[in-house]
């Protein structure tokens, strides 16, 4: 591979950090979901890069599984988001407090 692994990993970390920041610091549910997606994809990037460098198909297989899980999770999350919108007329996560300890 022409691109050194370290660069790809750095990119992956950067994207992961962006995704984490997005998930942590946004109030709207949609953006939290987006952040989670970005994090998942960042992890996938790292896996694929490793697969390319060490010529091991397992990384790519892992990424495919990851994509499937991400898709399922997005499906559920979006339906929750729609539910939340219908109930509270706002995408604000702060509204969901009923699961108290």
């Amino acid at each position: 591979m022409s691109v050194p692994l370290e660069h790809v990993l750095l990119l992956s970390v950067a994207i992961f950090a962006i995704g984490l920041a997005c998930a942590l610091f946004r109030r709207k549910f949609l953006f939290i979901l987006l952040g989670v997606e970005i994090m998942l994809n960042a992890a996938g990037l790292a896996l694929v890069a490793g697969s390319a460098v060490w010529r091991n198909p397992e990384g790519q297989v892992f990424w495919m599984l990851l994509a499937a899980i991400a898709a399922a999770e997005v499906a559920v999350g979006l339906s929750l988001l729609i539910h939340l919108h219908r109930r509270r007329h706002s995408g604000d996560v702060d509204e969901l407090r009923s699961l108290r300890g």
Binding site: L20, A23, L24, R27, I32, V93, D94, L96, R97, S98, L99, R100, G101
Partner: protein, 619 residues
């Protein structure tokens, strides 16, 4: 043969059982008859066995009651020269009082209970008298305590009767504690509770130990015998039916203390200090009680304090080492005091339930026989010359005088003064009740005095008056009989004896004269402050209440409300609240806010990553 001895206490016990089991199904007079017959049978056995009790006496071991390592308490009885006359007196006097009670309680709805308890009491008292070891004695000791409690509070619907019984039980139990400690100490020192063995081993005890044991025994005896400082229960105990007062508080239970000190006299005499303490307590109580008796208004209370005083004389003699004199007075006193109490019961009946002697009077005209009987008893009590009471009291005074030493001479003075006061209050009683004019109207429906109530009084009067023959001074029969178990009295010069007799007779006459002047025909004058103080027993009750009862109540309440609830439970509740607080604080993390959960998730994730990196980092 020795099982016959066991019949003496067991016959009353069987009587009690029969009464309890028969219960209501028995005809009305049955409980009284069963009770009287069983005690009379016991008296017959006691009298029959009397000759066999000389010297070593008879012993009977039925079974082992309690035992453990280094300790055994058999159910063992011994009839020796000391216990035999005592047992005979207890059974004979009890039988006579039972006869009286059969009439007195004839119509009481609780007579089944009464006679069952009455017989049970006689059983317990005989155990005290006949027990050959202190553990079994303690069984009888507590037994009479319980029976006394139940019989004093017999008419239980009236709270003050039950309260009087309660007081009696509690005060005597304080004494019992001291007695039990003494028994435990003797057991740990000598390895036995057998009385004969203890008396024999007494010289081997260290001086301090002997004194301690002696004082403990004194306190134990003081409880049962209502001596200072455990005497506050006796006057109130008059709340019980008159037969109870006659039996328990004149002839038997209150004499148990004196009897115990006589029984253990070899032990007691090992410590001159303890013996002196016994004598001092006896003398002081005699004086105190006599003064209180002088100012009492209720007839039975006069007799109660009188008993307290006379038992003081018995203790005085025991302390001076004169077992013979003490026992002699004990027996004779039982005769005439029981007589006086039973007569008092009749008197109260005659005045329609009136107790107050200042409201009596003139009974001599109505009840000649009763008057003569009462005079007999009174003369014995006052110690009029040639009565049984005279000889018995004289024997005590002589032995105290002969004991020697300034201390005992002082006690002698106290005893002589008390004799004077005794004569005064006795004749006061006589005058106020029988002579002069009737101060209260006769009852509308005079209660017929059953024949059985008057019959027992005659033999008691006879025994009281003639009892002096039992132990005439200068080598009496009783002293000789007791020789195997008690020190003989020191020989006194004839001159001293006659002088003492004259002095005693003088006291009686002086007392009579004083009473005659003050109380003949005169109604009671207004009560002075001092008189009131003595009537209330020098406020002994109030002292006990303030010093012991109220602090105990306060302490109990304090334990309940403060220590248990606030401190212990409060501490635990505080701990629980603390845990709850921590939990509440922690649960703020789970407040339902998804945003907070997310933050935590993120931080945790970063932390894990940092940790993973730190582990694999190889700079």
């Amino acid at each position: 043969m020795d099982w016959v001895l066991a019949l003496i206490p067991l016959l009353p016990l069987l009587g009690s059982l029969a009464i309890v089991l028969g219960g209501r199904r028995l005809p009305a007079a049955a409980p009284g008859i069963i009770a009287t017959v069983s005690v009379a049978a016991s008296a017959a056995v006691a009298l029959l066995l009397l000759p066999h009790a000389a010297g070593e006496g008879i012993r009977s071991r039925l079974f082992v009651w309690l035992s453990s390592e280094g300790f055994a308490a058999p159910f063992g009885l011994v009839l020796d020269p000391l216990s035999a006359p005592m047992a005979a007196m207890v059974t004979v006097v009890s039988a006579l009082i039972h006869l009286y009670a059969a009439g007195y309680m004839r119509e009481d709805p609780g007579r089944v209970r009464f006679f069952a308890l009455f017989n049970l009491f006689v059983f317990a008292m005989l155990i005290i008298v006949l027990a050959d070891n202190l553990a079994l004695l303690f069984l009888g000791w507590e037994g009479v305590g319980f029976c006394s409690y139940a019989l004093i509070g017999f008419w239980f619907r009236e709270p003050k009767n039950a309260a009087a019984g309660q007081k009696a039980f509690l005060v005597t139990r304080v004494g019992d504690v001291f007695l039990l400690v003494a028994v435990l100490w003797l057991l740990s020192r000598l390895g036995t509770t057998d009385i004969v063995a203890i008396n024999a081993a007494a010289p081997s005890l260290p001086a301090a130990g002997a004194t301690a044991v002696g004082v403990l025994l004194l306190l134990g005896a003081a409880g049962k015998s209502a001596q200072l400082p455990l005497m506050t229960w006796l006057p109130d105990a008059m709340a019980g039916p008159t037969p109870v007062s006659a039996l328990i508080h004149a002839a038997t239970m209150v004499t148990a203390g004196a009897y115990l000190l006589c029984r253990l006299n070899p032990l007691l005499s090992q410590s001159p200090a303890a013996a002196a303490a016994v004598a001092a307590v006896g003398a002081l109580t005699a004086l105190y009680a006599a003064l209180c008796a002088l100012f009492q208004r209720e007839i039975k209370r006069v007799l109660a304090y009188s008993t307290m005083s006379q038992v003081g004389y018995m203790l005085l003699a025991a302390g001076a080492g004169a077992v013979g004199a003490s026992l002699f007075h004990l027996i004779v006193h039982a005769f005439f005091k029981a007589l006086l109490f039973m007569a008092a019961g009749v008197i109260i009946h005659r005045f329609g339930g009136e107790n107050d002697i200042t409201r009596m009077g003139g009974l001599r005209r109505e009840q000649r026989a009763l008057f003569y009987l009462f005079v007999a008893g009174a003369l014995c009590l006052a110690g009029a010359p040639l009565t049984g009471g005279f000889f018995s009291k004289d024997a005590i005074l002589l032995s105290v005088l002969e004991r020697g030493g300034g201390f005992y001479r002082l006690l002698f003075g106290v005893a002589i003064a008390t004799a004077l006061i005794t004569a005064v209050y006795t004749f006061r009683l006589l005058y106020l009740v029988f002579l002069g004019e009737r101060r209260s109207p006769p009852p509308a429906h005079p209660h017929a005095i059953g024949r059985s109530m008057m019959v027992p009084l005659w033999p008691l009067a006879a025994l009281g008056l003639l009892g002096g023959l039992g132990n005439l001074p200068g080598g009496g029969w009783l002293d000789g009989w007791l020789a195997p178990v008690a020190q003989p009295p020191p020989p006194a010069s004839h001159a001293a004896e006659w002088a003492l007799a004259a002095a005693a007779a003088l006291m009686v006459l002086a007392g009579w004269a004083l009473a005659h002047r003050r109380y003949r025909g005169a109604a009671a004058a207004a009560e002075t402050g001092l008189a009131r103080a003595f009537r209330l027993g020098l406020f002994a009750d109030e002292v006990v209440r303030a010093a012991l009862v109220r602090p105990f109540h306060a302490l109990a309440r304090f334990s309940r409300d403060w220590v248990d609830d606030r401190i212990i439970d409060g501490g635990l509740r505080g701990a629980a609240r603390g845990f709850g607080g921590i939990g509440a604080w922690l649960s703020r993390l789970a407040n339902g806010s998804l945003l907070r959960y997310r933050t935590a998730l993120g931080l945790g994730l970063l932390g894990l990553l940092a940790f993973a990196v730190a582990v694999v980092w190889r700079p």
